[in-house]
Symmetry: C2
Subunit: 430 residues, 2 copies
């Protein structure tokens, strides 16, 4: 469909045909869902052996995992997850079931507590902001992950969008922003298989993120949510350069927090979250976290260690996920390629959980509404932007992991029909 | 030993004998520990069946516990833990492994977030304090639990000690305090088998706590940590009146937060924490918690539901704990009764995890130090008071759950010798 050179008559003919197709979908009573960035039941089944894997042996070395203590997690879990984040075990904190909780805690700590009373005199970002009469801000590469933005919205941190390119955040824009405003204290990053575009940060982007604190000041932090660190489903998926190695070279280890979890490795609700940070940051975090907890669920950590064993074990396990995910993503991309050339732009991810689709400007909300009326739920338009506001109204996040192939086939037929119809109607009005 | 009517000569003789005994202990190289309020390995063994209990069936009704979601916990866990807190299931939030985390989150929410932007206009305690130029304060019944005090210390909330009687907090003092100072916004309570004294709040105390908001204002909260709700080890242990029933009668449901966990029912590090609150408070809490997590570990909640089943199942399980705990507490109390009449005061708990011992004034730190030098670790003197400062230097918390009976026997021999010797030396100096 070559919209831009079509005659009005041709456009009207397409509109009629597509309307008819669309009405047929509406009449067929579909209930399909492409909203949820979560694993399917088949994926979860891959980890069913977790429960019961301990066989009554709850010992992690000398530690009885059943009892209290060990705020930083068991040594075996720290070592395992260090391998995922390309960190040293002593840089890693193994925690509860939610990396989002770790991110919220870390941001809250830096905002309201700073160094705390026991180390130095930094009172935290909020005090810096009060002293200068401004607001704390984070850079939000867009499109991005709504729950990252939600943490900032909850804590009263302003979000400044910066473009996400196919190499990662537009680092020229990032560097210019932090130099222009010292109250920019953080940036949200999903460096491998970015949510939602699926891109992988280039080595140059990673190196520039590691140098960013030089421009942004001592209390700037890169919130590096490596949620999909091992979540490739194509063999030619790009590797990610090691942020911590770059930071070691640049002497900027204090400027980065790395996060991850097994939510999309084992069980989405009952996995283990982890983070890596410099020794100074970890000491500070542990001290503060110690007021709010005695320790994480070490038994579940031990289950994960016994089940996944090591990085090779994780990769072998992820290959089984890939078998389930690859055909789903291929089907989505085939539908887009076959139907929507010229009517939108999309990414072709090699891993992760999403395909990001950009309609022609001004159509995303319309497409999502039309799809909903035809029984296909999509993530709300704008959700990938701070405060849910996509200024060009273009971005739609497609999450194909939960539905079956047959469901994806049907849902994508509806989706492409909605995009075509909305585009044709727009062209007729234009 | 009747110190107060003894001659100096008699005191000197006792001092010599006790010094000799004490030096013998010192020379014997003991390493015993009465510090830890945690279950023994034998107690933890009672719950070993938790891991593997699901047998591959992760479904809680229609909910796949393995996946994301369900911020308030699974319905089955909410119902089970409602029975522990004498609450309605819809008033209960089933959470992660730490009730301390729930308390910290709740206090932080009321301090810095208040009602949030979506409901009403209450900006939180901190804003109230700024407006009036004062500090937020909590009442701390003493002796009490150091981790409660730690939450306030972390959040910058001032702690005002009030006496803990054998009926609960001195409610005359509590009521007078909240009427005198509107910036008193909370009180810490461990209503059954109080940490460390083991007392159970009387029905009158519970009723007066339920009425307290009438005197203390709309934003006052009772932090009611019912950590030992079902932790009786004697059959004649007093029951606790229902705080929520009292609140329903008084229309003060919004003024109380109830907390509990299975840390000392199943596994100390891998249990399930829970809380009960009014619908209005739960809605507010859920909204805020939703920025920091997607949901708790529902798989572990389901394990607990399958393992404990219902309140009868919990009581039957706790009876097995009681078999292990009762002789330990009896041994401690026998040693105190046989040796320390007139040299201190102590409680005789019917449940919980501690015996609280008060030395003669000015001796607690000395006794703890002497015991440590003889190889018996005791909780630091003062730990049961805010900021670790016991103004009369009297209170020592004895935690006998972990050591074996033989170890308790030896440790208590050392303890009573230290108390006697310190008391005799004090009498000689007086």
């Amino acid at each position: 469909m070559q919209l831009d050179h079509a005659t009005t008559e041709q456009l009207r003919q397409w509109e009629a045909e597509l309307s008819s197709q669309y009405e047929a979908f509406r009449a067929s009573g579909l209930t399909l869902d492409l909203t949820r960035g979560k694993p399917s039941a088949e994926q979860l089944d891959l980890s069913n052996a977790l429960d019961g894997i301990l066989g009554g042996d709850y010992a992690a070395g000398e530690v009885d995992t059943r009892n209290y203590g060990g705020l930083e997690g068991i040594a075996e879990a720290r070592a395992l997850f260090a391998s995922v984040l390309d960190a040293q075990p002593e840089e890693v904190l193994a925690a509860g079931n939610s990396s989002l909780t770790l991110m919220h805690q870390t941001a809250l700590l830096d905002l309201h507590f700073g160094a705390g009373s026991a180390a130095g005199d930094w009172p935290g970002w909020a005090a810096e902001a009060r002293a200068s009469g401004g607001r704390i801000k984070f850079l939000a590469p867009v499109p991005g992950y709504d729950r990252h933005f939600g943490i900032c919205e909850h804590l009263g941190i302003e979000l400044l969008p910066v473009p996400l390119t196919d190499q990662g955040p537009d680092m020229d824009a990032v560097e210019a922003a932090v130099q222009a405003d010292p109250l920019i204290k953080g940036i949200w990053c999903v460096p491998r298989f970015s949510n939602p575009t699926g891109i992988v940060y280039s080595a140059d982007t990673v190196a520039r993120l590691a140098r960013l604190a030089r421009l942004a000041g001592d209390h700037f932090r890169v919130f590096y949510d490596n949620a999909y660190a091992v979540h490739a489903f194509s063999e030619d998926a790009p590797e990610l350069a090691s942020l911590l190695d770059c930071c070691r070279r640049e002497d900027t280890l204090d400027s980065v927090y790395l996060f991850g979890s097994t939510s999309k490795i084992t069980l989405a609700g009952a996995g283990v979250a982890f983070m890596a940070a410099s020794p100074a940051n970890l000491t500070r975090l542990r001290r503060h976290m110690g007021f709010a907890q005695i320790g994480p669920d070490k038994v579940n950590q031990l289950r994960h260690v016994r089940f996944l064993r090591d990085l090779d074990g994780i990769h072998a396990h992820m290959a089984r996920h890939a078998e389930l995910l690859r055909p789903r993503f291929e089907l989505v991309l085939d539908k887009l390629r076959q139907n929507l050339a010229g009517l939108g732009e999309w990414t072709e991810p090699k891993g992760g959980y999403f395909v990001s689709f950009d309609t022609r400007p001004g159509l995303a909300a319309t497409v999502v509404r039309m799809a909903a009326e035809a029984g296909v739920a999509l993530t709300p338009a704008g959700a990938t932007w701070p405060h849910g506001h996509d200024p060009e109204d273009r971005n739609i996040r497609i999450a194909p992991t939960v539905p079956t192939l047959a469901e994806i086939d049907q849902a994508m037929e509806v989706f492409v029909t909605c995009v075509k119809l909305a585009s044709v109607r727009q062209a007729l009005q234009g």
